[in-house]
């Protein structure tokens, strides 16, 4: 069977991507003082929320830091989904962050984390103008410094 990962990479390589002129580059505090949040595109939700995700979906879900009853809503058949079923940390490394905070490698773990769908519009204008800034505002309110982004 052909390599499905390579097939997807070849497909994505041909797709147009948005450009960002003069992109921002925000200097973080020292890692030992930084408050860290996770943002993933695995379309995660809490128990009972998996049917919230639609074929093209621009909303995001808020995941409290102590939640482990997470469901995978990303329906594409073109990624390994069994890793998440075996261990959520391979997509959403919440337990690893808690350990790094306990070891004072990072300052603290954010109160909430966030999940988007991977299937956005071609222009990604919703992410740029609406849901992306709204998610950023929630994280700033929680005094987050650093965002770890995990795509699926």
């Amino acid at each position: 069977m052909p390599d499905n990962d390579q097939l997807m990479k070849d497909t994505v390589m041909k797709m147009p991507v948005p450009s960002f002129d003069d992109p921002a580059f925000t200097e973080p505090p020292p890692l030992q003082e930084a408050r860290v949040a996770i943002v993933t595109t695995a379309a995660l939700s809490r128990k009972g929320g998996v049917s919230n995700w639609q074929l093209q979906d621009f909303h995001f879900e808020t995941l409290p830091s102590d939640a482990r009853d997470l469901e995978l809503g990303h329906v594409s058949p073109n990624f390994d989904r069994s890793g998440f079923h075996a261990d959520i940390n391979v997509v959403y490394p919440i337990d690893r962050l808690e350990e790094l905070a306990a070891e004072s490698v990072i300052g603290s773990v954010a109160s909430n984390h966030y999940a988007f769908a991977g299937n956005q519009s071609d222009s990604v204008s919703e992410l740029r103008l609406d849901t992306g800034p709204a998610c950023a505002a929630q994280m700033l309110k929680d005094e987050v410094d650093v965002v770890l982004l995990t795509p699926v």
């Binding site: 009972g48 079923h85 410094d145």
Partner: protein, 227 residues
Amino acid sequence: MSTLAHVFEAAGLSTVVITPMRFIAEKMKTPRSLYAEFPLGLPLGKPRDAKFQRDVLRAAFALLERPEGPVLEDFPESIQGKDSEPLVCLLPPRFNPDLHPAVDEAKALRSAYDRAIAVNGRTSVGRVVTADEIPSALEKFVRIADGEPWDQHGFDGPLMFVAHDIRTYYEELVFEITDSDFEAWGAERWFYEKTEAGKLIFEVSQKMKEEGAPPMEWYMLAPGSRH
């Protein structure tokens, strides 16, 4: 993901992306990217391997020390899924010969699924059908394979969502019945190549393709490389 990184940086947050696609980080000038050549769906590389996951996180967070961007570094270890074998496990023997083998199989595997739920405390089955409805969903796939029009399936959602639920049911329970170590794509290969349910869903996808169904309807019933 790179779009979100740019939006977050503009809002005053520092970001690190763990990406399996180096060319995207290069094209989009993602502020900070750790290129991790891992199979899609496994950004931290290895499930149930806390040390490996911590190593990936430490490599990602190290990028925050750079004074200027964009920053793009490679994680030193890669993982390939292209040559992995299907997970090895015994499937239940036929119990009710009056049922289609896929329906009989799904019913017999229910106790393994329930054990997986008890162990994990979660399930991703439920986009369209619940675990209780998996056998009847497979009966519908049987009828489509036997000639019933696919576009009159009657589910409360797209057929690909139902296939997602069935595959998820199997891929959650498989870790309760296999002694194989985790391998990327191993569960997917087990599902489509070894189980009656996976074979049935793929058969339906090919029948829909032959009948001229819209590509999105049949293509998404199985990974692209299988078509």
